[in-house]
């Protein structure tokens, strides 16, 4: 089974972190292919970054379909372009926020999310609603540090500290890491806190494996049917479906 894990920003070191997390838990028969767009923002921290990352994501899905990819993971906690990607792909496409929230609801009665910049919380909040997770989400927290600073030790400590606060104040049974750049922290944090700390990249890969393994692919009836073929003009002409 070939799973393409798309980092929607253009920072290659983050693609590598994501790839390591994915490969560490993939089945032995799963091939993990990682990528990031050639154009777009170096990190995704607001609606604007997210909106401009979608074109790159769809380009990766487009080429992925030619490569017979079995399923996709969109590895940014805003799950950008998810519905459009599902229209374009034959196999399942899962966002890491989606995967993490679904998993958390299966092993706890309520979760908190710990993310990076404060302004990204509203994006997580909207996804909580979109996935029907309102009754499971206890709190959305941020460390108010940037995505790219996650490679620094101090930022990792800030994540740990915020998780401790969540554990103390939120009455939560699990913590979700609200950024793909935190993919390498979940084991360390689970050990430190004694509570499941969920990395969406790992869970999303496993859920794609699960759906493909159960013979399920994206429904092509109705809402998520392949995009309608029509002219695309100008610099977007290659996107004609």
């Amino acid at each position: 089974m070939k799973i393409k894990v798309i980092n929607p920003n253009t920072t290659v070191s983050m693609t590598q972190t994501i790839g390591s997390a994915a490969r560490a838990i993939a089945n032995s028969t799963t091939e993990i292919i990682t990528c990031n767009p050639k154009m777009g923002p170096v990190s995704i921290e607001d609606h604007y970054d997210e909106a401009l990352s979608v074109i790159g994501i769809l380009d990766e899905i487009r080429t992925g379909e030619a490569e017979k990819i079995d399923g996709y993971v969109i590895a940014c906690f805003g799950d950008p372009g998810l519905m459009a990607a599902r229209e374009l792909a034959k196999g399942p496409v899962i966002g890491i926020a989606e995967a993490a929230m679904h998993a958390a609801s299966m092993i706890s009665t309520g979760f908190s999310i710990v993310t990076t910049l404060g302004r990204t919380r509203i994006i997580a909040q909207h996804l909580v609603e979109r996935y029907g997770m309102t009754r499971f989400c206890r709190q959305i927290r941020s460390i108010d540090l940037s995505v790219l600073s996650l490679e620094e030790a101090d930022t990792k400590k800030a994540v740990l500290a915020e998780c401790r606060t969540a554990l103390k104040e939120d009455d939560c049974g699990a913590i979700i890491l609200g950024c793909a750049g935190m993919a390498d922290l979940s084991i360390w944090l689970t050990d430190a806190l004694g509570i499941p700390v969920i990395d969406g990249v790992s869970v999303a890969v496993k859920f794609v494996e699960a759906l493909v393994g159960a013979g399920l692919s994206t429904s092509k009836t109705g809402d998520l049917a392949y995009p309608i073929s029509k002219p695309f003009t100008g610099s977007l002409s290659k996107f004609v479906p």
Copy 2:
């Protein structure tokens, strides 16, 4: 006051229809500027089209800010890129679905939406939820004809027929036209049906006028603050905020 009305698809005749509707109801002191992106889909009928229209919308907002535009209308019933556009703009940005639903809730206790292709209903449904309009929305209907066919007489008749069905079956007090390409039909339909038939383009223009007139602009505190300045690579490098 300068209001920029953005048709997110690349079909110029549709931009003209939208512009006529906007100018017909604008205040005498309002200047309506219409535009459409140079690249992208000729019509927006699925999530994929919508996702790929956002880059063009943001480009129009970007240039609009340089031109001291006071407020914007996104003239596609999926309200694509609305949150990102709000981050980028100083003044208000309103989507036509948003405007139509808010207006309908002020003059009736429940509305139905009549849109084009069946698969666009899910997009409307998600917007109903996003704007808190679930308790006002009675039904979302489609004529199962394409956006670009709206210029044909038969398609207009199909819209009228579907509105009649809505009036008979949905217990609705108002009907919302679910496509910017229907902007020229609302007066004809209101007369034919004896019920308010709402064109989102008109109402969105009036609401932008209202907000600007009341001294309100997009909040730059927190979630909708200007985008964070950071590198954008490749073909998107001009989008650095």
Copy 3:
């Protein structure tokens, strides 16, 4: 265009404050007519006051219709009698809580409300639900001072202080003033806080202008049709529709 702005309590100085706010932002072609009932409570601070203000509001709508008023604003943050007023009026009728919440949802992702007495918060809470604004409302706060004290400097300072707390604690992008008596404070507060502070009276006037300008009036199909003609006995006999 003639817009009647109804202060539902009997305090004339408050009617004047409301009138000033309305005229300051109305279009040059709009005539603002202000009024307050001759009978009823001097201020509206609980469900009981509100319930007893409705008869006066409906009397003003009744006479307004004879005067060919184009639209109405109910200038009390509980939006008393809104549905009954809509039945009685041909043109749009908008409550100031309704207007403020809709506007706030268009320029921010979440708002807080600052009102007077603590017990009025439940009225605001119920309106938040009625207008579908639950997902936009972050907090409802009160200064625990009476409506009529709003003319005193200390009360104004208390409003400012409570807004500051909202800004600090509620993660809100806009603040709504929860009393018509605060109509003269929004510019001062916006300047002091650097965040949109919304006066419902101003926005309601602009929204009535917008709806009338877009050719929309209250739906007379179904739920909001004119009241059924029938006998009214005793002191209410003049209310026969």
Copy 4:
């Protein structure tokens, strides 16, 4: 125990129907006092009627408090003035829609409502939301005949026919009669249909008995505290709390 059952319209024969239903099921130690306002509409069939009935209801509560009434029933399916009445009364005040819905949720997993005129359905719909009964309400139906026609045999047959349709189509386990004027029909309908058909008047009386019997009265802490004492001017001056 003294329970005052208030018919909010001015039709005496309907007050008698309501009184008979109440006395038929009251405990032997309960005294049922019935009344209707001297002024107001002869029937309540829209928001306007309802709004204008509130002044009469509050007048009855006001005098009831002087008479040491233990609890009240508001016997109109719109539950007009309920919150204001609760502020004014020491003992419990229950609306018949409220009582019927709560009862139905305790003996079935879902109910349908059968009411008179079609336009009253929106009032019932809003009460369903207010009482948290959305997940229990399957359908709201009307016979499209007036309240006062309920004394005619043909109207009773229409109610039976609509109940049969509800039973067949709505997957409901109980039916609620959506008008106090139907109070004499519940036993006949229950027998005819073999499903609980709930008259709100009866259940509301029993629930007032239950609350008083359990030592519970309206909370005077916070939201429902007695109305604030203040001047009321003009013809409403007697309403000073």
Copy 5:
């Protein structure tokens, strides 16, 4: 009228406390029969205890039906087995959490719950949702002491202290005691706090009296019809309906 009040745990002293509370408020014509299962947990403090108490509850309903019981109260705040019990019983079956929440919504605009162990709060939370009480529930609090310790004076003091905190912080108009073992505390707490403190056992008994008195029994149409007759094997063979 015969009402069977079932304590689902096996602690006889708690059955006696519950019985005393029930008899203290029952009508003179009501016979209160109390019982507890012979097998199962000595107290119910988690989902596991609750799940294993259901078999005992159903056994009591089964024998109750043979004894022509008119209605039942399930006297544990998790309302275990409520739906199954309703299928088995002809008359009404009411849970004490259900009764308390419905009563609180009739005498206040919002309530807080004070329960025993922290982990039981999630059970209360799920019931709040099940009964449509989300908009009435302000907070769910616990004293973090066990059910069986409720017979000790220190635990009673802890309940009082937590109620005081609720009164101060939660903006609630009533407090619900979240455990049948607190049935003897409501009068003392109401006196001490000056706010209605609701014991679910008392209210449930009164509501069963009310429903039976209004001629209502559990709907046997559809969802709550008598259980389907079929083989039960092994140690559960006596449960064949």
Copy 6:
């Protein structure tokens, strides 16, 4: 990895059908252990059957823990005893309704459920709410035939016919089979209908594999901690945790 798939009813042939479906899609490194309780109902078709199946489920979890089972599937579409089972188990426990709904929400924008007897629909409806799936569930349908008749050809045809109706009328993108006894029908139905038809048993097994593979187990912090050790009396004494 060892996964125990529990059929909560006592019909061995149904356990075999479930086991075949589970083994057909399990990873090669997964050992599927199937079982059913020795006591209880031969099929689960109402709340009563479900309630009485829980004791058998918990007995299987209890023994499973001693056998170092890595995760569990509760193979009945009512997901009976799920929360209690989670308290008792170290590894993940997933219900087949839960798994099917989560999977359907990842590959479509809306699903319909096709179940057996009409009265089981309310159980499915309550689970839809519990899992936050209200916005994804389009319709819950039944064939009005018993669970045990699923082994007959005519019943299979009835399932197919009902799925066809769902596809035509419900605007759904996927169909969920609402009974573990339908586990052998999903491939046949998917082929016949050209839309994903989801068997919860298969997906639940894959999701347990996914969670265990991602290093996740049931949270033992707070709500789902191991059951509190305490006496259990009589025939349930072996259930002392």
